[in-house]
């Protein structure tokens, strides 16, 4: 069966005064129906821009410079805005990190959800509100009918996030892009929201692109993971395999720098020296090279291609880490 979403060699650049930032620089990925793909990396790696490219919701100056985005075989990259409006909501929807800035503070919650239904489905106001109530119930909102007339500021962070999820699901999308959906929430509420997303994706057979910097969230919720660094995919594998058989030095370094609850406190954490490269002028060699403890001369000359022993586990590195991942102390 063809994948639900197929991205091939996507390039998304952002024109800025200082130059053109190559935020996404040749990214390929695919998501199957009902699958959860984790896209993990730190700030500036391009993971959010990848998600926004699928939705064609780019910041000013942003444009798709190359590559293809196929949703159910249909090419989105060159689609005009009028057609894209029908894709959004119906086929693919997005939820963001901070519901307080994503929800309209001057509109009642019910009206915002209904608006989404009316725009993407051309339903009547009454039908749209009915759907809003239905979908609020679906996301576990207590007393959904009463909540319709609440304003976002009257709700807690967790409830606002449920509203955002309800808005995203109102038109039955097959793909949900969740960009740092729980980062701004308390950890006990985070668990509730992650459980809700898992439950919904099972029930609605929905695929999820889970964009986050949190390796713990990825470990628990993603079927497959792609690690991004400086606009590129550096490693891609099934989740258990990524943690057990880490190959890319950046993935390894990232995992070594996280304090874990079960570790002994006196081992210093590994910290990656330096900073990511300037993407308005990226090097033509390996982008992680200046910060990599295994770098060789070749790493400073050529860019390593994505490759691997099996198609299921790919990495872009000339000197991959081998063996199972073990916590290393400071180098």
């Amino acid at each position: 069966m063809a994948p639900l979403l197929e991205i091939e060699n996507l390039k998304t650049y952002i024109r800025q005064r200082r130059g053109e930032v190559r935020a996404v620089d040749g990214v390929s990925l695919s998501i199957e129906e009902g699958e959860t793909l984790g896209l993990v990396g730190e700030s500036g790696c391009g993971k959010t821009m990848t998600g926004m490219s699928i939705m064609k919701l780019l910041p000013s100056g942003g444009y798709i410079a190359g590559g293809s985005i196929r949703l159910r075989g249909r090419e989105l990259a060159a689609l005009p805005e009028s057609e894209m409006r029908r894709v959004r909501g119906n086929d693919v929807a997005v939820i963001f990190q901070d519901p307080m800035t994503s929800l309209n503070p001057t509109m009642k919650v019910g009206d915002q959800i209904a608006e989404s239904v009316r725009i993407h489905r051309q339903a009547s106001k009454a039908d749209a509100l009915k759907r809003a109530e239905e979908v609020l119930g679906l996301v576990g909102m207590p007393r959904p009918k009463e909540r319709l007339s609440d304003y976002p500021h009257q709700l807690s962070g967790g409830l606002r996030q449920r509203v955002m999820i309800a808005m995203a699901l109102a038109c039955d999308p097959k793909l949900l892009i969740a960009d740092e959906p729980t980062t701004a929430l308390d950890v006990t509420i985070q668990l509730q929201i992650l459980e809700l997303l898992y439950d919904l994706k099972q029930r609605l057979r929905m695929a999820v692109l889970l964009i986050t910097h949190d390796m713990g969230v990825i470990a628990g919720r993603a079927d497959r993971v792609m690690v991004m660094y400086a606009g590129k995919i550096v490693e891609s594998a099934q989740t258990v395999e990524l943690f057990d058989q880490t190959r890319h030095p950046y993935t390894e370094a990232l995992l070594s720098s996280i304090p874990r609850m079960d570790q002994r406190e006196d081992t210093p954490l590994y910290s990656i020296p330096g900073l990511p490269p300037d993407l308005s002028n990226p090097p033509v060699w390996c982008r992680f090279q200046p910060r990599c403890r295994y770098a060789t001369a070749q790493c400073h000359e050529e860019e390593p291609p994505l490759g691997g022993e099996t198609p299921d586990h790919q990495y872009a590195c000339f000197n991959p880490v081998s063996g199972s991942f073990e916590r290393r102390g400071a180098a």
Partner: protein
Amino acid sequence: MTASPATLADSPLSDAKSPLVELRHLVKEFPVTAGAVLQRRIGSVKAVSDVSFSIGKGETFGLVGESGCGKTTVGRLMVGLEKPTSGELIFEGRDIAKLKGSERRRQRRDLQLMFQDPYASLDPRMRVGTIIKEPLQVQNIGTKEERTARVRQLLSEVGLSPKAMDFYPHEFSGGQRQRIGLARALSLNPKLIVADEPVSALDVSIRSQILNLMNSLQATHGLTYLVISHDLSVVKYLSDRIGVMYLGKLVELGPSHTIYEQPAHPYTLGLIQAIPEPDPKRERSKQIEPIKGELPSALNPPSGCRFRTRCPRAQAICAEQEPALRPFGSQHWAACHFPLQTPSAAA
């Protein structure tokens, strides 16, 4: 009514070996007003509601909890940015909350704050050198040359080039700004530093730099830390002992490994279980009972135990009587009528 411990030996205040600071029944109440014009007082929020604990010299004490638990307010009370509504803040034997004027100003040197947001806590119009020098100027310490020398020394201690003094904050990354914040906190040679969310605003791979730096500075300077964070893994990594707060109350207190391995309070357990660990096999085999519901209103907290509305073990008595902190072994305390383990015999 809280059952107050009869003697010091019956309370967590006796836990610290050589206490540097003791919080005794600290309360901070904020009035809540409504109405744009008349500002009628409609109630108050006890952000910190009768909190007592002590921190030993050279120790790292971690305060953890979620939104509205009061941990940030405790930090601010500690450094004098807020005045307690009632209770005592004993530092080296003196109640510093009652100090005034020049005495208070001089005492301020000993307790410094490292701010949460490296992007908002440094004045963008001041050069880094001036930012770090400012506390010395305010306290009238040293000559101009001595202050500049001190700034150079502090910058290299936090791993930055002394040249940094001539640059502006926006020219630095988040991690570097956090180092500048640490340098400023160290400038007055404090005895205790309150670090409020020291790494939350930083990228994951940068956090370890700051955590390692905090540990090494503590060893060099004999510092005492109060680390405040919602991130239990950061708190556990840095801290010797941890206090767990919920809606203004201290619900559990103990050594870090005890809190993690043998939590006595259902909220602490819920908090630990909710943390996603970077270990797929463990994450997927977790059998947990997530804490349900939402945080109740701080204006009108639940009667008796404040956690009861979300607690899977709550019974009638939890609504009638607020549980007091009881001992559960060495330095381990929890306030619960139905704890996860048997309390020690009464002292």
